[in-house]
Symmetry: C2
Subunit: 346 residues, 2 copies
């Protein structure tokens, strides 16, 4: 449908506009690229590309601007043509930077986000692993005050969650130990989420001696599941507002609106978690209205062999996709590698 020449011109126009956000005219293309064609011919081709929906004009006598369709074309072209060059220096640097804090899972992902933002100079988000999806390792229940305890949950993925809970004030530390021992001995290796349903099922079938213990365990476990679980780290807002794309006030407010409620971002991220490799969502491809002026470059990461979360870059649709994709790819590899090591430290 698009001949080779048109493709090359579309690529050139898109590339130009990414480098400098001025509408690109036919004359400019002839000057900056060597197509051995006159501006008139370029003009005709660009008119065709506009008709096909790849380019648009801000007004009649301006140059042309790539549409989301053009960016999609551009990105697909990038993704086909090359795997991204891997600067091992940078990779090592990133790994060193992250490795120091691998024990603090939230700090770690905050740093991941910061790194990604620094490297790309766009905004970035990183989602730490959810406790719910991770693998139960150990629980500890500590009597704290009359009627309240401290619950500590450890998972195989190096996640530690602690919380103060209200409980039946007649439970002694001994009772708590029994409950914890029970959970620890029976459920190591299960998913935090699974345990709940298993417990529930067991509660139904087993009426006997265990019953009391089980109900108490259940009551506590239910409270633990109530951990705030929608954590997500956003960094680089400040870098992004200095982009020319957000030079006017309404655009800037749009950024806010977009990242104001994190649940929106989470929604997208959840959808991306299962997919493999680097994903790119361009502008209006995004199902979420608020974000359809932005592009997202994302990748999921694994821990203990399971896809646990997503890291991503958010920027304007006019984004340096090559850079963004390379960086997301690179950082996600680093993250996987580090988490891999944590995993194998047994």
């Amino acid at each position: 449908m698009l001949d080779e020449r048109s493709k090359q011109i579309l690529y050139a126009v898109t590339q130009s506009y990414i480098n400098k956000p001025d509408p690109v005219g036919s004359r400019y293309v002839t000057k900056k690229f060597d197509f051995s064609l006159s501006s008139a011919t370029i003009r005709n081709i660009m008119a065709d590309l506009e008709e096909l929906g790849f380019l648009s004009q801000p007004h009649t006598s301006a140059g042309r601007i790539p549409t989301d369709m053009a960016y999609r074309f551009y990105v697909d072209m990038l993704m086909n043509q090359s795997s991204f060059d891997f600067d091992t220096h940078i990779a090592d640097e990133i790994k060193r930077r992250l490795d120091r804090i691998k024990n603090d899972i939230n700090g770690f992902f905050k740093e991941v986000s910061a790194t990604l933002s620094n490297l790309s100079s766009y905004m970035s988000i990183a989602q730490p692993p959810k406790a719910l999806n991770s693998t139960f390792k150990k629980i500890e229940l500590i009597k704290y005050k009359e009627g309240s305890i401290a619950a500590v949950l450890l998972t195989k993925e190096n996640i530690i969650k602690s919380k103060i809970l209200q409980i039946d004030p007649f439970l002694t530390q001994k009772d708590l130990n029994r409950i914890a021992d029970f959970l620890n001995s029976e459920y190591e290796g299960f998913t935090i989420d699974e345990i709940r349903s298993v417990l529930l099922q067991r509660l139904k079938s087993e009426k006997a001696a265990w019953y009391q213990l089980l109900t108490k365990a259940m009551a506590i476990y239910e409270q633990i599941l109530f951990f705030a679980e929608n954590e997500i780290f956003i960094e680089g807002l400040y870098d992004v507002i200095n982009l020319p794309d957000f030079a006017d006030i309404s655009k800037m407010k749009e950024i806010y609106r977009a990242i104001k409620d994190k649940d929106l971002l989470l929604k997208i991220i959840e959808d991306l978690r299962e997919s493999e490799g680097v994903q790119v969502i361009i502008g209006c491809e995004n199902p979420i209205q608020e974000l359809n002026k932005f592009s997202i470059v994302a990748s999921s990461y694994k821990s203990c062999g399971k896809k646990m979360g997503v890291i991503a870059i958010i920027g304007p649709t006019r984004m340096d996709y090559l850079k963004a994709i390379s960086m997301v790819d690179l950082v996600s590899r680093c993250v996987c590698e580090i988490l891999q090591n944590v995993d194998s430290e047994y």
Copy 2:
């Protein structure tokens, strides 16, 4: 130095400008307020006020705008004239809203910040209590993997901190229990910060049997102290960018610059923690350059009888100070009350 009439006019001008950010002219004052004076007289008085530094003109033929000095005058007047009316309905509402999450100290202060921002429609910050300043209650050390443990620290103020630490892999759970027991039995009631120096001192004097235990305890304790402690919750950025005061792009970027690094805010907040009641810092009174276009209305709160942190509103110098002061006052009272109850739940 200022006669009563001038004061009233200054107050009126400031009030007007706070209500609507248009330079206020002499004619406007005669119309909206009943001073029984002609615009010419008002004009003369306003000229005097300008000479004294209370008012300024954007340009020769515009009305006048209050300077930071005028706001200071205005705020001092407010602070003298009244204690702030206390809507018990709102107070109850706030208390209910906060009471549910008093066990999760970070969640609690995030909510405090959100509440403050909602009520005032400015940006707000809330600083949760620092573990360092709080009172040691209990520590628990849990063997997790080879060479790493989970440390859980509980304080009297309902703070729970947990962290994964690297340790000597030859330490058994039994050893860990001994260390924890030692700390628990000896140091309940001390400040987290104090314990460190006490431990150090003891390490010097006591060479005997305790020595080994002490060094191990010390090694672990040092790591625990390394908790990320500069947490601070900022809410309401989105509300504030819609104010007319930040209608142009450079002003908006200034907000970012101001809150971009939290350490800056922390610096101010640290200074305010020791003072009593509601504090107001207006514009250029602020020692921090980046913030001298903003005003801060702050109050510290107590927990277990100690001043533990600060909550504050940040807004433009043209701020509804009455509202801001009332709200900070109200919320800080609510916070104190709830923390008081937590404290007395023993």
